[in-house]
């Protein structure tokens, strides 16, 4: 099977970006206000953005989609973070949801990106929702 890295290389004839793309089942010990999940994910995007900036990498895009009874969509190109949400998002209390993330960065390796993204995601959730994460 051809990897995403190879695909982009062949399609662009330009640089070779690192791609991280993953789906998580987010499980919490009790129901929390959706805004706390948004806060954790916003912090995570900021950390990725700071990491790419410190490493002089170029962000293709960072995208997050929280899928459940309500939905949240966050995206950034390494500058501001744009946010859209379904109508009832702000009033939603959740204990589980599906979390989809895709990060595309030029100037780093797939391994370095994966390590940073996963580590940072855990840290941000543990900071924003301490002792609340049952599983990822």
């Amino acid at each position: 099977m051809v990897s995403d890295q190879d695909l982009l290389k062949c399609s662009t004839k330009h640089s070779d970006p690192a791609i991280f793309s993953e789906t998580y089942s987010l499980a919490l010990l009790e129901k929390v206000k959706s805004e706390r999940v948004k806060q954790a994910l916003t912090q995570w995007i900021e950390e990725i953005r700071d990491w790419t900036s410190a490493k002089a990498c170029f962000v293709g895009h960072i995208k997050v989609f929280v899928e459940g009874q309500e939905n949240l969509w966050l995206s950034s190109t390494g500058r501001s973070i744009s946010s859209q949400q379904s109508q009832g998002w702000s009033e939603w209390f959740l204990d589980r949801a599906t979390l989809c993330v895709t990060v595309i960065v030029f100037g780093t390796t797939k391994e370095a990106l994966k390590e940073t993204v996963e580590e940072s995601l855990k840290t941000c959730f543990n900071t924003s929702l301490p002792n609340m994460i049952k599983g990822f």
Partner: protein
């Protein structure tokens, strides 16, 4: 079928634009087809990465979306796109099909394939979304890709103009028109609601 083929670099705002165009098409142009039971609009999503996100955003809006994942339709999934498109024509025969390419694709390459092998196509328009906020960076870092995406577009949407001063927007507009002087050009900010008259011009021929 009328096909709107969307291109533009990663993060330029293609999905935000498509959401608004889809709402416009559904509300304004296809009311007559609603009784047929068939969707008047189908969207084909091509994304980089194993996890599709744009397709979920569009589906959450109630739109009819087909995904082509784990490949790029301007190279490795070229044949799959034609098969998918022809299947949509046979099964649904929608009035409109929107195709969202990956941010690294060359839309004109895809347009050539569709023109050659697609069935039941009444019109095909290539629409490229350009990122005003990152124009300077992208022009420096990957000028070849950006210019090639824009050069043969029928329509260019300069997005995120809210991130720049008016004189900066004018400068970017000049740069773009130097690359493609014949395409219809519109400056927008898809973060907010765009004037439906712009969408009318984009999906028709600028009349």
């Amino acid at each position: 079928m009328n096909i709107l083929l969307f291109g533009g670099f990663l993060g330029s705002g293609k999905t935000s634009v498509i959401l608004q165009v889809a709402r416009y098409l559904t509300a304004e142009l296809s009311a007559l087809q609603l009784d047929s039971g068939k969707p008047s609009l189908v969207i084909i999503e091509n994304e980089v990465g194993e996890t599709g996100i744009d397709d979920k955003i569009l589906k959450a809006e109630g739109l009819n979306v087909r995904e082509l994942i784990a490949g790029c339709i301007c190279c490795t999934l070229n044949a799959e796109l034609t098969v998918c498109l022809n299947k949509i024509q046979e099964e649904l025969s929608p009035e409109w099909v929107i195709i969202e390419t990956t941010g690294m694709a060359f839309p004109h390459t895809i347009a050539e394939t569709i023109t050659k092998y697609g069935k039941g196509i009444d019109s095909l328009k290539t629409i490229v979304v350009a990122d005003a906020e990152r124009w300077d960076d992208l022009s420096t870092i990957m000028p070849g890709l950006i210019e090639e995406q824009i050069a043969q577009a029928n329509v260019i949407l300069l997005n995120k103009i809210d991130c720049l001063e008016p004189e900066q927007v004018s400068q970017v507009a000049e740069d773009i028109k130097r690359i493609n002087s014949s395409g219809h050009f519109y400056s927008i900010s898809a973060q907010a609601e765009v004037d439906p008259q712009i969408w009318r011009k984009v999906v028709t021929n600028g009349e």
